[in-house]
Assembly symmetry: C2
Amino acid sequence: MTFDAQAFTEELERLPARERAIQFRLLPKARALDVFEHLDAPNQADLVHLLQADETASYFEEMDPDDRVDLLDELPAKVATRLLSGLTPDERALTATVLGYPKGSTGREMSPEVAVVPQDMNAGDALARVLDRLHDSETIYTVAVSDGTRRLVGVVSLRDLLAADPATPVADFVRPADRALATERAEDAARRCAERRRIALPVVDNEDRIVGILTVDDALRILEEAESEDQARQGGTEPLRRSYLSTPILHIVRSRVVWLLVLAVGASLTVQVLEVFEHTLSQLVVLSVFIPLLIGTGGNTGNQAATTVTRALALGEVRPSDVLKVVGRELATGAVLGLSLGGLGFLITGLLYGWALGSVIGLTLFTMCCLAASVGGTMPLLAKAVKADPAVFSNPFISTFVDAAGLIVYFLIAKAILGL
Amino acid sequence: MTFDAQAFTEELERLPARERAIQFRLLPKARALDVFEHLDAPNQADLVHLLQADETASYFEEMDPDDRVDLLDELPAKVATRLLSGLTPDERALTATVLGYPKGSTGREMSPEVAVVPQDMNAGDALARVLDRLHDSETIYTVAVSDGTRRLVGVVSLRDLLAADPATPVADFVRPADRALATERAEDAARRCAERRRIALPVVDNEDRIVGILTVDDALRILEEAESEDQARQGGTEPLRRSYLSTPILHIVRSRVVWLLVLAVGASLTVQVLEVFEHTLSQLVVLSVFIPLLIGTGGNTGNQAATTVTRALALGEVRPSDVLKVVGRELATGAVLGLSLGGLGFLITGLLYGWALGSVIGLTLFTMCCLAASVGGTMPLLAKAVKADPAVFSNPFISTFVDAAGLIVYFLIAKAILGL
């Protein structure tokens, strides 16, 4: 069994920065390079600051253009230019193409080293051309087919080339390609690559000229990062840029405190609502006993709807234009849930606290379920419609809203039924 | 531009079952087959019930063994056996290997059609062998290398085979392989495939004999399903088995109602807690005004910690054995968060309601943040340690716990400071 760079890197990333550097220095050159390539860009940057210039330069030379750019983003301009100037003209050119596209775009994440064959070439020559560029292509399994200029006609898989009769022109078996636009969001291209189950997507510029290729392994990295961000925001925190154990406590605090404050401000709404009804409360203190149960249930119902719809959006099962369909379905769902929970609440509270209070609780639960489900289900669609990240209109926000609205409903119903 | 089966399928899955069948019947045979393969197994099953037996049989014959098994799982035994018996002996044998492994195992999701070459063969012959089986291999880009019997030695990429001098034996450049065990959880194998950025993992049995291959596109499908389940459970609902719009309302209700009830039962804890302190409440009704704000903040802090740690677990950044490290970090984080929120709460409440109440709120917020963060951060690790899905110890549960505990803290502090 040879040296497992990936596993070693994972161990390394569990260590504090200094210790990590020491461990790294102890590696034999060849392995060190392998490990360096496996590290996240922020951790690579930490090392660059601790290593000799020449040492860094040699690693930098060996990296793929797209990884190189990720690292450059983490480094101070001075270091970055020094490293760039150390590259061979070819490598610098390749790096430049990638650097030319805005952060977060597909162009930034793609590899410019793409295998291309013209459509009028025959399968035999095309295969020869691909094998000839075996070593300086990011992948040879997906081959971009051009119209002779750099315009993308489609793709052929290496499998197609091998299966085809060498004499037949590529044009005869080229397949229309799912393409990525160099200027589109990398996350969108990556998701398309994964959903269409492609090994790679050719990347084109606005004139449909082939500029690079996005491979599934890069797509997976991009989606993993996007997934982390969405999950973090749904949990009401900012995503961490390093692994959990290697992130300083104060960075973790920073990733959470703003959200907590925003949500607390939102929650102070409930304080104001309750003050309005303080008189009612003082008349019947037992009402306050049910507050956590009621708003908790409302919040849960809202979160359920939001989670389901957010996921359906991510998978393309629903679109913002389906908003009415969704509201309808969630209202119906909320009504059925409300009937069961409300009925139960009516019975139990009724038996323990009398039927008047029982019907207050029952009715409130019913109303809250309908309200929470439809609001929770609509929020993600609204977010998407206004081009905001659905995960940002996150579950905590819905809870906050449902809390305030639910309390108003609760006390209005209580006043009406108990005549307070 | 040719017919886009994937896009058409997505449209189809937005329609109600009957309408879907009608649309499907209108497709020309060739396209229908293509679309059928793109449908989810449950939707395929719906169609099978509506189509002629012979029609179904022809689709079934064309499917990959692993997809075939997914469909069989959805069908009544009678239909399943009829379809199986319609297959050619070879196809039936391939399907049987996959059927032989338990649901949810890698063996169930792999393709048995794997390209294998013995290590003592030379690159030229190996390449010839692979190309020869071009059409009945799931992939030819990753080739499993055996010791001559079926035991796995490692893998070579097609790229290696093409690059190598035809005379050199495969043994000289075979690489150690990340492998999947046919009996391990498919989700684990898929995650490894994605994390290691492999195009495919060879699948072996307990004697390390090659039995199949798991390709990245299947891995992506498996992870997508797992992701949906985790997100659903974190939102406190059961995952839906079909697309949102094609799921009957009552199925959606069923996926939520159990969780809501469980959580409501949990929340009734808060009712009991509050009853214990009802006397305190009646003495100072204003205390109840802060209940939603306090438990809301506690819940949010807990969710933040749980979300971060759950994600770190999924990415392998932390392990259950790190529990002490995590508790330490979350306690520290909670303390800092508590100081900022508590300080703010103390000031604002102090100014508006007097400093006695101010210090009650401030202290409660501080204690709750420490409690919520450490509990929220530990839960996922505990879940994992007892082999439960961390997503199942989900955020709503943490909120419920924090609500009850927080209320006790609140009233104890209030009694102590206000001497009620």
